[in-house]
């Protein structure tokens, strides 16, 4: 399958739009060719509005969208060469799978030349060519939707929560497949999801959109481990420590405990946060270690294959661990436990 030559990918500057009561403010981000950016944020954050503006379904009030160096202002959706995979796929129910995949070529008056069949085989769904969308499973529809946009050789892919309508077992397989297809296509892509695990699994870069504002973007792991503010940290599943005070250049006081950080504290007011999966648990007592506290388990909440443990004592900590590990450690409510927060896992974020 021929791919268009890729220039600079997608560049967005100062994008602003008012939709009823909601406002998207000065959004700026870029997606380089061959990279997938996961756009995450709670529902109502403006993720879909942003995609609709990029695709040309909605005009921004201000700002600029450039694709491969070309300003998209005033270009209708059909002239943007952007593939859009919708949340529930929006397949054409009156056409067969092959006709769906061929639609983009026909609409542009391009001879097929095997592109449609090629896209079907890339997604492993050649055997579905003559079926109608109504007879397909959720996973099959998702593959057809991806094949349909790839066959049209887009310059940019937009995927709006593409796995949200698929059941959990299929989702993991599809996620792997999508990752392979996206990285293999060389086409820059924006992948919208509200699931941070999915975002990390599929994306190279991560952008966090909350309340109409793009709070942070960058390489996925950087954003995930070093959120720039408390709102992003909270959305990405970090735990906050209430009322942290300064106890030295790299030390903070929380409740009756002093914690050592991996780096210096900021000069301004700050909040302390950590990921609950970074907290290490061991039987109480034992050798003295940095940031190790003897606490008591006050609550255990199941979370999938893991358990979430809340512990109180000189300070309150939350930890996440595999359930079988917890059972092996004989940790129950009221158990005494030694909890350690490695200094490198503690982050001070300026408020």
């Amino acid at each position: 399958m021929s791919q268009p030559a890729h220039g600079n990918g997608l560049e967005i500057e100062g994008l602003t739009a008012r939709v009823g009561e909601f406002t998207l403010r000065h959004a700026a981000l870029s997606v380089r060719p061959g990279r997938t950016l996961a756009l995450v944020g709670p529902s109502g954050a403006g993720k879909t509005v942003l995609l609709e503006m990029i695709a040309g379904f909605r005009a921004p009030d201000a700002g600029r969208i450039r694709l491969d160096g070309i300003d998209l202002a005033g270009k209708p959706p059909e002239d943007r060469e952007i593939g859009f995979v919708f949340q529930d796929y929006a397949l054409f129910p009156h056409l067969t799978v092959l006709e769906n995949v061929r639609f983009g070529l026909r609409a542009r008056g391009i001879a097929d030349g095997g592109a449609a069949r090629g896209a079907l085989s890339q997604l492993g769904i050649e055997h579905l060519a003559q079926r109608r969308p109504g007879t397909l499973s959720g996973g099959e529809r998702q593959r057809v939707a991806v094949a349909r946009v790839l066959a049209a050789s887009p310059r940019l892919l937009l995927l709006d929560e593409p796995l949200s309508a698929v059941d959990a077992p299929t989702r993991d397989d599809l996620r792997e497949e999508l990752r392979t297809v996206l990285s293999g296509s060389g086409v820059p892509a924006i992948y919208v999801t509200h699931d941070q695990a999915e975002a990390l699994a599929i994306a190279d870069d991560l952008a966090v959109l909350i309340g109409g504002a793009l709070r942070q973007s960058g390489p996925a792991m950087d954003v995930f481990t070093k959120p720039v503010d408390a709102t992003v940290a909270r959305f990405l599943g970090m735990e906050m420590m209430a009322d942290a005070g300064r106890a030295g250049s790299d030390r903070a006081r929380v409740g009756g405990a002093v914690l050592v950080l991996g780096g210096p504290l900021p000069d301004t007011a700050f909040v302390l946060c950590y990921r609950p999966e970074d907290v290490e648990l061991a039987p109480p007592g034992g050798p003295c270690a940095v940031n190790a506290f003897d606490l008591r388990v006050t609550r255990i909440t199941p979370a999938g294959p893991c358990d979430r443990l809340t512990m109180d004592g000189v300070l309150r900590l939350t930890a996440i661990m595999l359930r079988r590990t917890r059972i092996a450690l004989r940790l129950e409510v009221d158990s005494a436990v030694r909890a350690t927060v490695p200094p490198s896992a503690l982050h001070a974020i300026a408020e």
């Binding site: 695709a55 040309g56 379904f57 209708p76 959706p77 059909e78 943007r80 060469e81 952007i82 593939g83 859009f84 919708f86 949340q87 529930d88 929006a90 397949l91 054409f92 129910p93 009156h94 056409l95 639609f103 983009g104 026909r106 609409a107 542009r108 349909r148 946009v149 049209a152």
Partner: protein
Amino acid sequence: MAGALTAARGRAPSAAPRVLFLATLWCLGGLLVAFIMLPLVRLTLATSPGELVDAGQRSDVRAAIRLSLQDAAVTAVVAAFLGVPLAFILSRSVFPGQRFVEAIVDLPLAVPHSVVGIALLFVFGRRGWIGAPADHIGISFFGTQWGIVAGMLFVSAPFMVGSVRVALDAIDPRIERAARSLGATRAYAFRRVTLPLAARGIMTGLVLTYARSISEFGAIVILAYYPMTAPVKAYDLYLQNGLDASAAVSVLLLIVTLSTFVVFRALASGQVRPLALR
């Protein structure tokens, strides 16, 4: 035993009102069905197979039936040609005065049909706004098939616009957006995606428009008494020869109109497929 009694006693107070409620529904609903069926049954009983055959052999009756079928079909096609674009605009756009336009589309449902005929005569009559210039190029609405179609279209157009609008509103807008982002212009997406997906609604519109048109009497009798459509012919026979004489022709009309309606409705509902809907 004691337990069963308690259970029965426990159920009894709720069962009686439920039966009463259902019985009331059936009685009232049944009355309406009987009200519709009774005159048609009585009409059918007023004639015999022999009289029906005689009526079917009369050339004036056959001409009237043929005219009704033909003009109702033409009206349905014209209504689709003009009504589908209007329904699309009303379904997909937001514009000032939209409510007003929607009200205008439904207006013919509320206007007495004799009034429709008189109003149409003012516009399409020989000295009417449209009738006068049309007369110059040799088109007359008064007493012609043009007039019959005009009368039928006026009273039946809301059914076309309404049916198609419902079908268009049911199409997920993301499907049209998907077509656009794949490179389809508005017109291409309309032709290849919207129209096929609204096909069932357009078929329903055609059937309802046809049925409303073939049964129209009030507007047509004023605008175009001649050439006689089937309803006008039945009325004419009743005026000239009385109730019993008009029965055979009326039953014949009933059979023809009902059978075409039933066939078209079956086509529209998808029970019979005339061609593979693509």
